[in-house]
Symmetry: C2
Subunit: 396 residues, 2 copies
């Protein structure tokens, strides 16, 4: 709640966009707390913050836990911050209980997870895992033309340590679900087995622009009218691969977008998701077939352009079972769940065994100032994180 006062919005949310003054204040507060908890703090060249607590055997690879402190411009208090502060809570609990783990423990706060100011999202964990180069990340610009590199410097968080030089035996991220499933299924803990793959496509339908008045219906070549069976079949595609498939039409862009002109062009923004790589690929191929089928017998030309694909991620079975063990030990109701949203853990899972813990969020709301969780769920999630870390840090 103290962290949420930094960048607090009138509607109860948080605006702590990456590398803003508020982000700097949040980082300062967090670093201060880590030092109070006896951790040594290191900042890497991407501004990722690592706070270490020594173990009995510091030659062992450390266990990592954390998330991110940046937020959406009208974000909530818990998206990201929960996972960072829960990891700190774990360390404070170990301090209070005077427990020394076998392996060292680290907390991480990743820079610019949201991507709200600098695209792409998860850029710093991406550099960490080798997805992006440091130069690429530094050269990202916000809408005012400021670069990520300069802004990192400006807020004093361009560290010296090389990005990605750290190795871990296990990584955990506690996060709010950002969806309605745990609440609907009345489960306290989501054991995240992986992250959905995502395929973004534009369907481009080209007809012939005409005035809304003079041209009779029978002479029209109307991409809006032609889009209707295509859209229906896209939703049917999600039903076909239920329950894990998702199909979202985020927008339809008519050209020209003028009320009294029948558009000559329509671009349909499609987001397809599935946790299975092969199924995601099948869904994308079906999308192409749908557009072909519906335009082959008409004067409309239809093309499908995949503009981005993120393959599904399967988290480490070791980390998954540690989370499962912790939930069982604590007597908490749990279920396996697939993350529909991207997280820093997606990139981290490429370079270290990784797992995620979800807790319910009210009405599934996230990226929203009304985002909310219960104290009980927060405590349960943090306890699961504690016990998973305890198991991971004692393995050697």
């Amino acid at each position: 709640m103290q962290m949420a006062t930094i960048g607090a919005t009138p509607n109860g949310g948080v605006n702590r966009v990456a590398l803003s003054h508020e982000d700097k204040l949040g980082r300062d507060l967090f670093v201060g707390w880590c030092k109070e908890a006896g951790c040594s703090v290191e900042i890497d060249q991407m501004g990722n913050i690592f706070a270490s607590r020594a173990g009995r055997n510091n030659k062992l690879l450390p266990v990592l836990a954390g998330s991110h402190l940046d937020s959406q411009p009208t974000g909530g208090k818990y998206d990201g911050a929960l996972g960072v502060l829960a990891a700190l809570e774990v360390i404070e609990t170990l301090n209070d209980q005077k427990i020394t783990t076998e392996a060292p423990i680290e907390i991480v706060s990743w820079t610019n997870e949201e991507g709200a100011r600098f695209a792409p999202a998860m850029i710093a964990s991406g550099v960490f895992a080798g997805e992006f180069t440091l130069d690429y990340a530094y050269s990202r610009i916000d809408k005012d033309g400021l670069t990520l590199g300069d802004e990192l410097d400006r807020i004093g968080y361009k560290g010296k340590s090389v990005v990605g030089n750290r190795k871990y035996s296990a990584c955990f991220e506690l996060h709010i679900e950002q969806g309605p499933i745990l609440e609907a299924e009345k489960k306290s803990i989501g054991i995240v087995t992986g992250v959905q793959g995502i395929s973004w496509s534009d369907i481009i339908l080209v007809g012939k622009e005409t005035h809304a008045g003079p041209t009779p219906m029978k002479y029209r070549i109307d991409p809006v009218k032609s889009s209707l069976p295509i859209l229906s079949e896209i939703y049917a595609l999600a039903d076909k691969y239920t329950p894990h498939a998702r199909a979202t039409i985020g927008y339809l862009k008519a050209e020209p977008a003028i009320r009294n002109t029948q558009p000559g062009k329509l671009v349909i923004a499609v987001d397809l998701r599935h946790p299975d790589k092969k199924t995601l690929s099948l869904m994308h191929k079906a999308l192409i077939r749908i557009a072909e089928k519906e335009t082959s017998n008409s004067s409309i030309s239809g093309t499908v352009k995949e503009i981005w694909r993120s393959e599904p991620v399967n988290f480490s079975s070791t980390c998954i079972s540690m989370i499962d063990n912790a939930a069982k030990k604590l007597g908490l109701s749990s279920m396996e769940i697939i993350s529909g949203a991207g997280h820093d853990s997606v990139y981290i899972s490429r370079v270290a065994p990784t797992g995620m813990i979800f807790i319910p969020c009210e009405n599934g709301l996230s990226h929203n100032e009304m985002e909310n969780i219960s104290k009980e769920d927060a405590a349960n999630g943090t306890n699961v994180l504690l016990h998973a870390i305890l198991e991971a840090s004692s393995m050697h």
Copy 2:
């Protein structure tokens, strides 16, 4: 073709937007030609230009013919200019043939028909017919904040004669069809019986915004998905009232329009048209029922807001039969047609018997630099205008 050199665009069109320097040059050229043809020229307070040719009995109400000289920013050569210059051609023909009509004849060029710079369209004929006040028209501003009144002054076309003080026994406007019907039906002359009524509505569908990933399909309240049967039924509505009904979805505005967010809101821009007032009203009521029906059994809320209605116009049966007579006398193929677009004649028909003549335009293209007509069609249309004027000006 000489008029089309003023404001000529690289792609063969015309940019002679109302009250621009090009509009002034076009007006000057036209006024010069009228004076050369022996006409007396008068400009009213709205910059409408009236060029009069005396008849044998100048106590009779004159016959009016004309259109407008302003264009769209990327307009064609013929939209408007054809009707003005054809009326001048009629007078030159009468001069050449040394014919004096019984009643006087006037040519008109109406100011700002297009509305491309100053909304609304047809504002000057609207003031003439009492739809708008002069003050309202003068106070219209363009995107640079300049007023119509000041711009009229600047180009030297704010005349002294009171707008709407002139009476006519018959008014004719020759215009390109701006649609594909005459070309498709292989007819030379469209005898315009009226102008479609127009009803503009927003259908507003409100669901619940959610991320494209986390929320399973079954929990979604998606206005895009819910819009599909509504859109289908809107097009079916046009089929029901075929051949005259038109239904156009100019755009669909999703909020937020982000690819990876299932929108919480969708606004559908609907344009319904029909030449019969009662049918147009039925179509609008059906639209409300469609939205109600499709949202009553779902969690989507749907509202239909009519934002503008323009009732259908029926042209004067006397003028229609004069045009019909002229086409028959000349042995030209013709058909009755309804204008889908608005014209100055819509307003003028409120204060004087009015009729319109359409000629085909290539591929139905208009408001487009590629707008084109054949010389033969131009000559045919002008001959029909001549003979309609001859009949009208001899009636007394």
